[in-house]
């Protein structure tokens, strides 16, 4: 191994030799001085200095073979402290390298006050207030976004040729076709669970025959739409937010603006449209599988034939329920896609923002789904 000057027989330790002459202390530094032994050698030097009254301290660097900027800084701070005590502090016999290290330390930088204070840690009460007002602000932003989205949709309806059909198709594929297996699986399991649970209860009063009706009623009216919507929020709402957010970070949204494209029309409309097409279909799919899941229990545990199970199910289903269920699914879809896109556009910079708003897209979407569902429940009750 070739040795550079720094490696030249540098002992892996340090030594401080003191020499006292009429209140003038000379400290010979030997060896290596750096971050690794800073605490130790600083303590040693300060000890030497504080041992008696002094006129001057001279630090001799002639035997120093390694010095780093932290060690240099520590020495400069000792200089300040000794100067306070009116002791002269001298650094002598520095190599060019050591001088170089001292010269990178800017006194102004050490004294510079931070341009901006960190915001105070807010108290708990304050935080609650802050987040409530954030929620109000978020809601206002969302309403504005919905407005812009509606304008863009209206433009698209008046000028259908401006719609990017390829994009719509792509998202139909991504949100819909790719989502079929999981929607089917969850739908079937939920149907199965409801059937099983109601069977456990109803068999006590010998009302097994009502299980098919209960399953199809629950699936079509509530569970199908809401469960599908939650799945789509997790799968597609999040991916819309992440996709648009990343585009913001990469300046792609700025580029769209400067090319004269409206990002909402260009990025949000195809996604919203695709989701509105897809979610009702997925919902029907989930309903079917839910009824199918119930049928498994019906046939295996309830001694019903497939035929009776189906006819019992069909008896309980009303056209009104199917239509309202599809309307609900469509509204949920619009909410999920709009929230996903809006959160994506809220990203300002950095990977952290993308993560934050992706999460927020899912949480907000699920929240809105549940709230809207309750509104629908009441509304449909009175309409009927």
């Amino acid at each position: 191994m070739t040795t550079t000057p720094a490696q030249k027989k540098c002992p892996e330790y340090y030594e401080i030799d003191a020499e006292l002459e009429d209140l003038n202390l000379t400290l010979y530094l030997v060896g290596e001085f750096g971050l690794k032994n800073l605490t130790a050698f600083e303590r040693d030097i300060r000890q030497e200095i504080s041992r008696q009254k002094l006129n001057s301290v001279t630090i001799d660097f002639s035997k120093v073979c390694y010095l780093d900027s932290a060690a240099a800084l520590a020495l400069l701070q000792m200089e300040k402290d000794t100067n306070y005590q009116e002791i002269k502090f001298l650094l002598v016999n520095l190599s060019d390298e050591s001088k170089g290290i001292f010269s990178v330390i800017h006194e102004n930088a050490l004294m510079q006050r931070s341009f901006r204070d960190l915001p105070d840690k807010d108290s708990f009460i304050r935080k609650i207030g802050q987040s409530s007002s954030d929620i109000a602000g978020d809601f206002a932003k969302f309403i504005t976004f919905i407005g812009e989205l509606i304008v863009a949709m209206a433009y698209m309806i008046r000028h259908p040729e401006t719609l990017r059909g390829k994009d719509v198709f792509f998202y139909v594929q991504r949100a819909g076709v790719d989502g079929l297996p999981i929607v089917a699986l969850i739908g079937a399991l939920i149907g199965l669970i409801i059937a099983f649970m109601s069977y456990l209860q109803l068999k006590m009063i010998g009302a097994n025959i009502y299980v098919p009706a209960l399953v199809s009623f629950a699936m079509i009216k509530e569970l199908g739409p809401i469960m599908t919507a939650i799945l789509v929020a997790g799968r597609s709402g999040s991916s819309f937010a992440a996709e648009i957010g990343t585009m913001v970070v990469n300046e792609e949204v700025d580029a769209l603006h400067t090319m004269g494209f409206d990002p909402i029309r260009f990025l949000a409309v195809p996604k919203v449209l695709a989701t509105i097409i897809v979610v009702p279909i997925l919902t029907v799919y989930a309903d079917f599988f839910g009824i199918f899941g119930g049928m498994i229990i019906g046939v295996t545990s309830l001694d019903l034939t497939i035929k009776t199970y189906i006819s019992q199910s069909i008896k309980s289903i009303q056209v009104f329920d199917i239509i309202t269920s599809l309307i609900k699914a469509g509204v949920f879809a619009a909410l999920i896609a709009a929230v996903g896109c809006q959160k994506g556009f809220q990203v300002r910079s950095g990977a952290q923002d993308v993560g934050k708003f992706t999460t927020s897209a899912v949480v907000t979407a699920i929240f809105l789904i549940v709230v809207t569902d309750s509104i629908f429940a009441i509304m449909f009750y009175y309409i009927k």
Partner: protein
């Protein structure tokens, strides 16, 4: 080439930009002349990107005007702003290609949106543009498969898709190796000479400034505005302002307030 000062394409009048209380620059006025390559320089943080973003209609200034063909783009409706945007091209620092599309689709986009050309013609135009930036054959690559320099060149091809009157570049050669940067300079000069495209360029590369700039504007953070304007060679020769000389001679100005520790 001599710039005809009498023929401004864009007139910037008394522009002030600020973020909250932080005034970035104040009362900045200048003109961009037809066919010139105007280079904006200045230390990091002096507001070059901010200025550019206002000039391309992405951000609004605090006050002031930017006139393009008599229209103040800082106050017009979105619709008219889009007319302006069709006449300019912008190259962002990283290229800002749409990552979900191929190179071809990226360049195709403005052509499809703003022209009624048939697909065959559009294809041919794309091939021509890619040839101009030396990327012929890459139309079906996705942006992720290109190197940084190639992305920038593809970005230039997209920015030039509609043969804009003015091209804006932020950080033209940042992050590129010297050879690629030099190629980019050649591309700029060639485009400017062949098509007469006006260019507004932010860059830090001294060499490329000497090579491409017809005129240099220097912004300064402390002065909150333009501290020098002129041909790069003249600025280098005649300047007395320490901020200007220090930039062109690549020296850190001596700050009398700054004390460094020194040792005997």
């Amino acid at each position: 080439m001599d710039v005809e000062k009498t023929n401004p394409v864009i007139v910037v009048k008394n522009l002030t930009a600020r973020f909250g209380d932080n005034v970035v620059f104040e009362d900045v006025s200048f003109e961009v002349c037809k066919g010139e390559i105007l280079v904006i320089v200045g230390a990091s943080g002096c507001g070059k990107s901010t200025l550019l973003k206002i000039m391309i209609g992405l951000n609004k200034p605090f006050s002031g005007q930017i006139l393009y063909q008599g229209m103040d783009i800082t106050s017009v409706e979105e619709k008219e702003l889009n007319l302006y945007r069709q006449n300019i091209g912008v190259l962002f620092q990283s290229g800002a290609l749409f990552s979900s599309m191929t190179i071809k689709e990226n360049i195709e986009l403005p052509l499809q949106e703003y022209t009624d050309l048939d697909p065959v013609m559009i294809d041919t135009i794309i091939k021509m543009k890619l040839g101009m930036v030396n990327l012929a054959g890459y139309e079906n690559y996705s942006p992720a498969e290109l190197s940084g320099g190639m992305k920038k060149r593809a970005g230039i091809a997209r920015a030039m898709a509609l043969d804009p009157q003015v091209l804006f570049f932020d950080e033209l050669s940042a992050g590129l190796d010297p050879v690629t940067a030099a190629e980019l300079d050649d591309l700029i000069i060639k485009t400017n000479e062949a098509l007469g495209t006006t260019m507004v360029i932010v860059t830090h590369e001294l060499e490329s400034i000497y090579k491409i700039a017809h005129r240099v504007l220097m912004l300064d953070k402390e002065a909150k505005g333009i501290v020098a304007e002129g041909k790069p060679q003249d600025l280098k020769k005649n300047a007395t302002d320490p901020r200007v000389t220090s930039f062109f001679l690549r020296q850190k100005p001596v700050d009398p307030g700054e004390k460094r520790f020194y040792v005997k």
